[in-house]
């Protein structure tokens, strides 16, 4: 196990270098640059070539690309993502400012998805081919295939505009902080309802089908048949034996979900004006704010790397049958 862990960790190094190269290249080789956007895309075009060069120099964009890569890498090694081209604040500060909003939304969504999906999947598996299983399955597939932005707009029109039941902009109402304690949190909770629904229904569908699938596999095992044979109640079988063993693949899957918790949903956050990381990414891409885009891409890539590693190790840990050489 220790040897396996060490070897897995060793693999991380070349992958990491690969990630930095790809992240840097994709963003820096895309046509256009931030200066161009300031000077032409958005405002004035009567800029002299000299001033244009000055600006490129100011942003450090006049060096050859490999020099820029190495500079970036050097700073990255000390976990310094540089300063935003837009407001010149440190990238880490900008991300940290947006992180809580994304975390609270995504963790809530994940919890809701788990709480609903696991029982749903187990129940469907225990009653395979029943009407519940069939209707549930179809409905979930249907949900899974609905595009988020469309569902979001439909929900906004219905619950937000027509019924005026739920807010759909930002994390809290204007002046919400003047409200008494409970009312304030109630206001914030209301603001979370629609984004959470939109963020959850897709993963809910996916998760519950996943749980159903892996439970079915467990149900076919010999030890379940033994449990049945010795006369255990069906409930007990499902909760004691099936459920626990189903958790193994679910755990792995959760590990893989870790990066999405932090990177946030670009589309949903910008629709609901949710001031999270996804919204920051969207704004930064549009403004060609390279340091922020690169910082976020890098962090996401690292998280994917870490979570795969974590999932692998977790898998080995929870399932003693899994052996590694």
């Amino acid at each position: 196990m220790l040897q396996y862990t060490l070897r897995r960790l060793l693999y991380v190094v070349p992958t990491l270098i690969g990630i930095t190269i790809v992240t840097f290249a994709v963003i820096n080789l895309a046509p256009g640059d931030p200066v161009e956007l300031i000077s032409r895309g958005e405002l004035d075009a009567r800029v002299s070539p000299q001033s244009y060069q000055n600006m490129l120099h100011l942003y450090g964009l006049d060096d050859p690309i490999h020099v820029r890569y190495l500079t970036w890498l050097k700073r990255l090694a000390t976990l310094d993502f540089g300063d935003s081209f837009l407001d010149h604040r440190p990238v880490s500060e900008k991300i940290a400012e947006r992180l809580p909003a994304t975390l609270i939304l995504n963790i809530t969504s994940l919890l809701v998805a788990l709480v609903v999906a696991v029982p749903l999947g187990l129940y469907s598996a225990a009653r395979q081919h029943s009407t519940f299983d069939k209707v549930g399955g179809t409905t979930l597939y249907l949900l899974y295939s609905l595009p988020e932005f469309w569902v979001a707009l439909v929900l906004i029109m219905f619950f937000g505009v027509k019924l005026r039941l739920l807010p759909f902009h930002g994390m809290e109402s204007m002046d919400a902080r003047d409200l008494p304690f409970l009312a304030y949190w109630w206001d914030r909770a209301l603001h979370m309802v629609l984004p959470t629904i939109c963020l959850t229904y897709g993963s809910l569908a996916y998760l519950s089908r996943f749980v159903r699938g892996s439970s079915l596999e467990v149900i076919r095992q010999d030890y379940i048949r033994t449990a049945r044979a010795k006369g255990l109640a069906e409930n007990r079988i499902v909760y004691r034996h099936v459920f626990r063993n189903t958790l193994i693949p679910v755990l792995t899957l959760l590990g893989l979900l870790l990066p999405t918790l932090i990177s946030g949903s670009i589309i949903l956050e910008s629709i609901f004006s949710w001031p999270g990381v996804g919204d920051l990414f969207f704004t930064s891409v549009r403004a060609r704010d390279y340091p922020v885009v690169m910082g976020l891409s890098f962090i996401t890539a690292i998280l994917v790397l870490v979570s795969t590693l974590l999932a692998d190790l977790l898998y080995a840990w929870v399932d003693p049958r899994v052996t590694y050489r």
Binding site: A30, P31, G32, V35, E36, L37, I38, S39, R40, G41, E42, L43, D44, A45, R46, V47, S48, P49, S51, Y52, N54, M55, L58, Y59, D83, S84, L86, D87, H88, R89, E97, R98, L153, I156, M157, G160, V161, R164, P167, F168, H169, G170, M171, S173, M174, S270, I271, F272, S273, P275, G276, D279, L280, F282, T283, R286, A287
Partner: protein
Amino acid sequence: MSRVARTIATTAVAALMLAGCGGRGERADNQASNSTTTVAEGEPRPGGTVIRRLESECKTLNWVLFTTAYENFVLRHLYDPIIDYDDKGNLIPVLAASLPVVSPDHKRITIQLRDDIHWQDGVPITARDVKFTLDRIQDPNVPAINKLAYFEKLDHLETPDDHTLIFVWKEPFAPSMYAISQLWPIPEHVYGKGDFLTNPANRMPVGSGPFMLDEWRSGQYISLKRYDGYHGKKAYLDRIIFKVVEDDAVALAMLRTGELDEMRVTQSQWEKQTVDKDFESRFNKYQYYFPQYNFIAWNCRKPYFQDPRVRRAMTLLFDRESINNKIYSGYARLVSGPFYINSWAYDKTIKPDPFDPEWARRLLDDAGWKDSDGDGIRDKDGRKFEFELMIAHGSNTAAQFAQLLQEECGKSGIRVNIRQNEGSTFFDRIDKGEFDACTLGWTLDLDPDVYDTFHSDKTPPNGLNHGAYSNAAVDSLLEAGRVEFDQDTRAAIYHRIQRIMIEDPPYTFVNSVPEKRPIAKRIHGVVISPRGPYDFWPGANYWWIENGADGMAAGQ
């Protein structure tokens, strides 16, 4: 890309736009086209809150560093200009005590600042602040490239005492007044300390205007409150809140629930989603033109577009009236020249060329482009008349422009190949002059000087004459126009340019498309200037609410 183009519309100096992006248009009734429209009735009273939309987050509230139209929206409440244009387009003093005085050689412009003006922290505003602001704009370590362009012809600024500004220009330069109107001082005592780019005041500015910053929540809203110690006439509104709403559909939903008081709407929203009784009873729907027009540029370096007759034939072949009806549902107005249709520089008596394929074919024949080998394509000296029309990827209107032109040209023996390019590549090729023809739009200054776009000296990389247009008469008129300070004489000069450009067109001038903006009826004092409801003095600073404090939008 359409997003970028739509953002350009307000503050820009001659900014490139993708033709017809956003598809704004106007019905023939011209509700608020150019004439100043005022809805205010009754007595203004203090109190109340107005909520406006920001289509994108602001990055800074430092006047020197801002670049977007949204930042300009907010800054117009926080700061006062030295001089600015009023709702009729006339120059007026704001921080200045009176209008600028121009020396007989037109090189020195003297401005007296008022002596009773102060920053929102009580410190007096002086000529030193103006000098400081200009120095920052010209500082190579400050990315103020969009403002620097106004002052490239400025030699230096003299400040003999605390209240006198003398702008000394390298040569007589009529657009210099406009340039000065774009210089809004920031306080030296605040921004002079520490690093300019990361100064905390970039997010918590000390302004000079009738409103001050109350709170800025990143990605959510910017809230302003009235500054009661203001040196000018006090504002009425208690607060102005700018909410960041990126999505158009969501913004319209918020307009309906009362969480927004105004927004710019798309053409389809204007025509289909804002016409019900409830909406019309709560909102005034404004549509107004901007200094902006769309065109097709012909690259005069190419053999077929060298001849002015051919370029004119292209205009005659392009059915702009039908474009207007098909794409803009009859809104948009056809234009015949490169000036803002509501400016004194534009001669309304000069009509755009008609759609006349017969005439076009005669011109093409005269220019020597005939179908000599009978293959249905015109040719001359062994070269076929086949060119590439470059359009920006993602612009539907540009694609429709292109198809219509392709069809009409085909009927007259010219082959047009349409080529879509992604935004950056598109602009890159235009800058390098590597195109045959392309669809674009310009956003203009209030000053009509178009030297940079049409003078033969101004081919890239020296300027914006991308198609290498060259006409000796236009050149000398453009030179005359920038040193003439008398408006009537100047107008005559630009009218002549407009007339020459009918016979010898650099572009096919297509149309000017109005912006559409519903504003809540509870808001009074809305004035539409030649640059829209915000971009003039005093802009939206003196809006007021019918019931004062009770008139708060029906929040959530």
